[in-house]
């Protein structure tokens, strides 16, 4: 039971001493990427190896036998970020990072040997692809070196299932600080820090809290939005799985500031581990007196429920999310009234994103000035991104606001895969926009992204190279949105369908030049005629690619060509004169008699007639049929 700040400090110190008494701590990443590449098996193998050598211990053993030294602690942590090179194992206290560790073979044995001999297994360390230098620790690796971790400060480090591990990192001291202040003072700090919502809009959290705090009612709610619907984003998931206490602590502080006594975390259906972790975290916090009744001996009480979403993107939108918690179809409701005035069951409700809340406790502990010293004047702090697509280093990153796109894609991301050319970067998922090479120098914060027609969104950042067709990507997003529209507004429901059909026509090779203007016209109408953010931002990917890549659209509609070589229907099948042996096989299989020629001459395909069925391609034994884009 934790009753005072002193109790927290005692846990912090004792846990810290136990860690110091250990010979080493093996932190095996159990983030989604690493698990999928087999990190749980690596964990088992490490434990097995340590047990065989009589080296395995736990924090509890070390805590009990105060004098005991030695032994290695093993932890399954949340995402350590560098998913590209998973499974990852970090050896503390040295901070050596092993990459692509395999459970079978010698890797595990070599890691334990090296730990005992105080050496490093160089072939498992990160190698700089250019200089070939070996970089054993995170501090040296460019991917990590240029990041600043605030929301992810503990993710990949703490044991997410042990509340004491969180306290060892200073956890729950933000809550203690908050409870020593009046609610207005806590609110004042978040306002001064200008913490802006990380869920997309960038609305100042303090302003939202202030509106709810000013409402005089018996009951208010605090909701954490963990719906993370952007297809291509996994930051919130990583925080909920890897550092769930930071989210709970943020919610408690927010609840205290606005005068709420009940909270919900709404978690996306596809994240079962996050749901399980959060439930356990709430139980643990409650058992320790850090949630539930009379928190830390004060008269502040706050209960938290976990709600599982049921698979609807629009439920990330505040009013739809509220409808869903109430047990209804997740359809958006008109605003005002804003949820902060009348939300869940008509009561004042504040909704914040997972990452926003993960910043809150640290602002209270480290201070407003510290927070404002990171990032830009108008967007203080950091932002996490899921960096994916055709970039060399994919993974979960966090950077101060105000880094340039170039810093992110090239310095941290290591540039484009296989030395290919950058084509565009899609930021903000289906609500965002597509930036090009000419935007590389823009700084990434809420306002400057808006200026160029993109949007921070939740922080999915998908890098595309010359082999990605932007028209097809625009179609992909429109298809996603069209499926996810809740159907309430005609423009969103029908407009997105029309846009999708036009885009489909274009990638199928039946587009016309007029279609491009039509897309813009419908897009603008959808923006105007939609109630919620889903519809309002749905045309963004199309409009921004039309603005930035008009040539590529024109190639599709005028030349009937897909320069990236993606759109299948825009290929031409041609017969290579050199390779053709005039064997007649293709002529025989062509269902539309599009191939002609005589015995001695190479054959030809009549493009007018060809239906691109690929029959000739499959049958030719000399590889003479070529696909030309």
């Amino acid at each position: 039971m934790i009753k005072t700040r002193q109790d927290m400090i005692t846990v912090q110190e004792r846990y810290g001493q136990a860690l110091q008494r250990a010979k080493a701590r093996f932190v095996v990443c159990a983030g989604p990427g690493c698990v999928a590449s087999g990190s749980l098996q690596v964990y088992e193998a490490l434990v097995q190896e340590l047990k065989e050598r009589n080296l395995h211990t736990t924090v509890d053993c070390l805590l009990e036998a105060e004098g005991q030294r030695d032994g290695v602690i093993t932890v399954n942590s949340g995402c350590q970020g560098f998913c590209q090179l998973g499974p990852l194992v970090r050896v503390e206290p040295e901070g050596i990072l092993y990459t692509k560790v395999k459970a079978d073979g010698d890797d595990v044995r070599e890691i334990v040997d090296a730990m005992e001999a105080h050496t490093v297994v160089t072939h498992l360390c990160y190698h700089d692809p250019r200089t070939h230098a070996i970089m054993p620790t995170e501090q040296e690796i460019p991917f990590y070196k240029h990041q600043t971790r605030v929301a992810l400060a503990n993710c990949g480090i703490v044991d997410p299932e042990d509340i004491r591990s969180y306290m060892q990192r200073g956890g729950y001291q933000g809550l203690a600080t908050a409870l020593e202040l009046a609610p207005e003072e806590v609110l004042g700090k978040i306002l001064q820090a200008n913490l802006r919502g990380r869920g997309g809009g960038g609305f100042p959290a303090g302003r939202k809290w202030a509106i709810a705090a000013a409402q005089k009612t018996d009951h208010k709610y605090m909701i954490c939005n963990g719906d993370e619907g952007d297809p291509g984003a996994f930051m919130d998931r990583s925080i909920m799985e890897g550092d769930p206490h930071s989210v709970i602590e943020g919610m408690l502080i927010a609840g205290y500031a606005i005068g709420a006594s009940e909270g919900y975390i709404y978690v996306r259906a596809e994240y079962p581990l996050a749901v399980q972790r959060l439930r356990q975290t709430i139980d643990d916090a409650t058992k320790h007196g850090l949630a539930g009744k009379n928190i830390l001996g004060s008269d502040f009480s706050f209960v938290i429920h976990v709600k599982e979403g049921a698979g609807a993107f629009v439920c990330g939108e505040e009013s739809a999310l509220i409808a869903s918690i109430e047990g209804d179809r997740g359809m958006s409701r008109p605003k005002p009234p804003f949820p902060a005035v009348s939300g869940l069951w008509g009561k004042p409700t504040v909704i914040n994103n997972v990452e926003t809340l993960a910043n809150v406790a640290q602002i209270l502990v480290k201070g407003v000035d510290w927070f404002r010293s990171i990032g830009t004047e108008d967007s203080p702090g950091t932002k996490t991104f899921a960096l994916t697509g055709e970039v060399e280093n994919t993974g979960l990153i966090e950077v101060p606001m105000g880094k340039t796109l170039k810093d992110i894609v090239f310095t941290i991301g290591g540039g484009i895969r296989d030395g290919r050319q950058l084509k565009g970067v899609q930021i903000g998922g289906p609500s965002g926009g597509c930036l090009t090479e000419s935007h590389l120098e823009i700084i990434v914060d809420f306002d400057s992204l808006k200026e160029v027609g993109a949007m921070m969104g939740s922080g999915g950042m998908v890098v595309m190279d010359e082999n990605t067709c932007v028209v097809e990507v625009a179609r992909f997003f429109m298809n996603f949105i069209q499926h996810e529209s809740c159907g309430k507004c005609t423009f969103c429901r029908e407009g997105t369908l029309q846009m999708l059909q036009i885009l489909q026509r274009i990638v199928d090779g039946h587009g016309e030049v007029e279609d491009l203007d039509l897309l813009i016209e419908i897009g603008e109408a959808v923006q105007l005629g939609s109630l919620c953010g889903l519809g309002k931002s749905a045309p963004n990917p199309v409009l921004s690619t039309l603005a930035n890549f008009r040539d590529e659209y024109l190639a599709h509609v005028v030349d009937k060509r897909c320069p990236a070589g993606v759109c299948h229907n825009l290929r031409r099948l041609v017969i290579s004169e050199e390779k053709c042996r005039s064997c007649w096989l293709c002529v025989k299989v062509c269902p539309v008699n599009a191939i002609s020629g005589s015995r001695k001459e190479p054959y030809k395909i009549n493009q007018e007639k060809c239906i691109k069925c690929d029959a000739c391609l499959t049958v030719c034994r000399f590889g003479a049929i070529e696909e030309v884009y």
Partner: protein, 172 residues
């Protein structure tokens, strides 16, 4: 491959009200409990039997239409029994740009799914796409009953189905 894994009649007969009552005892009968109740039924039966929808509506004092409306709004619920193996093809942005659709199409072809259907005739496989499973580095990714497979290709999916097919018949 004519073996029926779970026939509609069997599934409907196997829907037991006892289970529903247990769920109701835990969740209560407020409107807010509707989605969690349907989630419990979906998890147990792999779909929402008509009978269950009618009983839930009665227990919560809602119209059947309201419950049906909620059940059809959310992608998690299905009104048709799902297959023994639920295969989800991640079509998040990263997987999409790295070729998830060819894998999806190869799979549908392999298990003989006709247009518009997502579950095979014999209830062996359900094939669906899903937005981002959060394993973008392994793109394209699929899950089969929540087990993740990365770096998928059309060939790889064929091999996986071969093995599942064998397992499936062995167990029956």
């Amino acid at each position: 491959m004519n073996t029926t894994v779970l026939g509609t009649e069997e599934a409907e007969a196997s829907f037991d009200l006892g289970f529903l009552n247990e769920v109701l005892a835990k969740t209560g009968t407020s409107t807010a409990a509707l989605i969690p109740i349907l989630q419990a039924v979906q998890e147990k039966c792999r779909y929402l039997p008509e009978e269950a929808i009618i009983h839930v509506a009665a227990a919560l004092g809602l119209s059947v239409a309201t419950v049906y409306g909620v059940a059809t709004f959310y992608a998690q619920f299905s009104l048709e029994p799902k297959g023994k193996y639920v295969i989800k093809i991640c079509d998040g942005t990263a997987c999409h740009v790295r070729g998830s659709i060819p894998v999806y199409e190869a799979l549908r072809k392999r298990v003989n799914l006709e247009d518009g259907r997502s579950t095979t005739e014999n209830r062996m496989y359900t094939v669906e796409t899903v937005a981002c499973l959060g394993a973008c580095v392994l793109a394209p990714v699929i899950t089969i009953n929540d087990q993740v497979y990365g770096h998928m290709t059309a060939d790889a999916i064929n091999i996986i189905i071969d093995t599942l097919g064998q397992e499936g018949t062995e167990h029956d």
